[in-house]
């Protein structure tokens, strides 16, 4: 149990997927213009990452490793993720139209989110067991959401700032990201004795 907690905090804060591991940057920069869309994207990512972690771990364990075709991991994982996202879209549209209105447009974008494929590969690389994998995926998604919401909050305020024309949009967001990454650096050594 303690181990799961360590994994959670490590991935959520110390090794934040966006600010320390550089995963999920495209939506981090692209979907963070306002807090509402950022939080919706974040929610969708948490959802997909957790389920994808679970499914890809099982596929790896019971298919890839069992038949000694571990080198097919990249192909199989990305196909599983793409299929999963389709199923999730279908499922949500049937079960909760409200949720669909909220998450709808973000789900297809998640397939190419390197954070999702990244977390699935990391689960296997780190040798996590199933509970650890699920916690890791969930925490990674939450960490992403934390980063993207923080960025959206800042960008909403930036709208009123006098940013030089050349720096507007991506450049200034990247500088903001740099400061965020710097502040998250303070979490290093969280678990050192």
């Amino acid at each position: 149990m303690e181990n799961l907690f360590v994994i959670f905090i490590t991935v959520f804060l110390v090794n934040n997927f966006v600010l320390a591991k550089f995963l999920g940057l495209c939506p981090f920069l692209g979907v963070s213009r306002n807090l509402k869309s950022a939080s919706c994207m974040g929610l969708a990512v948490v959802f997909v990452m957790t389920i994808a972690s679970f499914v890809t771990w099982c596929v790896n364990e019971y298919v890839l490793v069992a038949y000694d075709v571990a080198y097919l991991k990249t192909i199989v994982f990305i196909l599983v993720i793409a299929t999963l996202v389709q199923f999730v879209e279908l499922f949500i549209s049937k079960v909760s139209p409200t949720l669909q209105r909220v998450l709808g447009i973000y789900l297809p974008l998640i397939t190419t989110n390197c954070a999702v494929l990244g977390v699935c590969i990391l689960n296997v690389q780190e040798g996590f067991n199933l509970p650890e994998t699920i916690v890791h995926g969930f925490a990674a998604g939450l960490g992403f959401t934390l980063a993207i919401c923080m960025m959206a909050g800042i960008r909403e305020r930036l709208e009123f700032a006098k940013v030089p024309v050349a720096m507007q949009g991506f450049p200034i967001s990247l500088i903001v990201g740099s400061l965020m990454a710097l502040s998250f650096f303070g979490f290093q050594g969280f678990f050192a004795n």
Partner: protein, 197 residues
């Protein structure tokens, strides 16, 4: 557009990193040294070439409805190929690039070119496009990693250039430095392109 025009497009006008702002994840992650930057650029170019060629060759064979899964399979095949080849023959680089080699498959540049170009253009032009984008990407990575390696470690390609009088600003090879370098360079290129009529 001729072969050379297609090729040049990827290097300047439609540079994937600084104009299209695609493939940011590997750009920020692997540019801690020039060697890594070039290595990643070349690996991505390999995948771009392979996927563009095959997708262009098969463009009339793949039905529209299943084009996305088909593209994914083709692209990820080439990614796995380069992954295996690098692990076997350039192990150190393979370890340095780590998880970002399999992540080439979700690099928006590749899927983007497949969808927007290779699936509707003849093979020769697709090759030009792939080479242009790939080399443009490699050049961008080299530029960013040159800055980060020089200021962050005081070395260029591993050779100590800025002797002991310069204390390396380690932050440049850490995440904050990556974001900072990219943001400033992007701003610079925006400024330059606005100046030109």
């Amino acid at each position: 557009m001729g072969f050379s025009a297609e090729f040049q497009k990827g290097i300047f006008k439609d540079n994937p990193t600084f104009r299209l702002v695609l493939g940011i994840c590997p750009t920020l992650a692997v540019t801690t040294s020039i060697k890594n930057g070039i290595g990643m650029g070349l690996a991505t170019t390999f995948v771009l070439l392979g996927s563009n060629i095959f997708i262009s060759l098969l463009r009339n064979f793949i039905p529209d409805k299943i084009r996305i899964p088909a593209f994914i399979v083709i692209i990820s095949t080439f990614v796995t190929l380069i992954d295996l080849l690098m692990a076997a023959y350039v192990t150190e680089l393979h370890e340095a690039l780590g998880i970002f080699i399999p992540l080439i498959v979700v690099n928006c540049i590749i899927m983007g070119r497949a969808e927007a170009y290779a699936s509707r253009s003849p093979v020769l032009l697709s090759i030009a496009d792939a080479l242009g984008m790939g080399i443009g990407f490699t050049l961008s990575l080299s530029l960013i990693s040159f800055i980060r390696e020089l200021l962050g470690s005081g070395t260029v390609l591993g050779y100590n250039v800025l002797t002991s009088f310069y204390e390396p600003a380690v932050i440049m090879i850490l995440p904050p430095g990556a974001f900072l370098t990219m943001g400033l360079l992007l701003g610079l290129f925006n400024y330059i392109s606005r100046r030109k009529p």
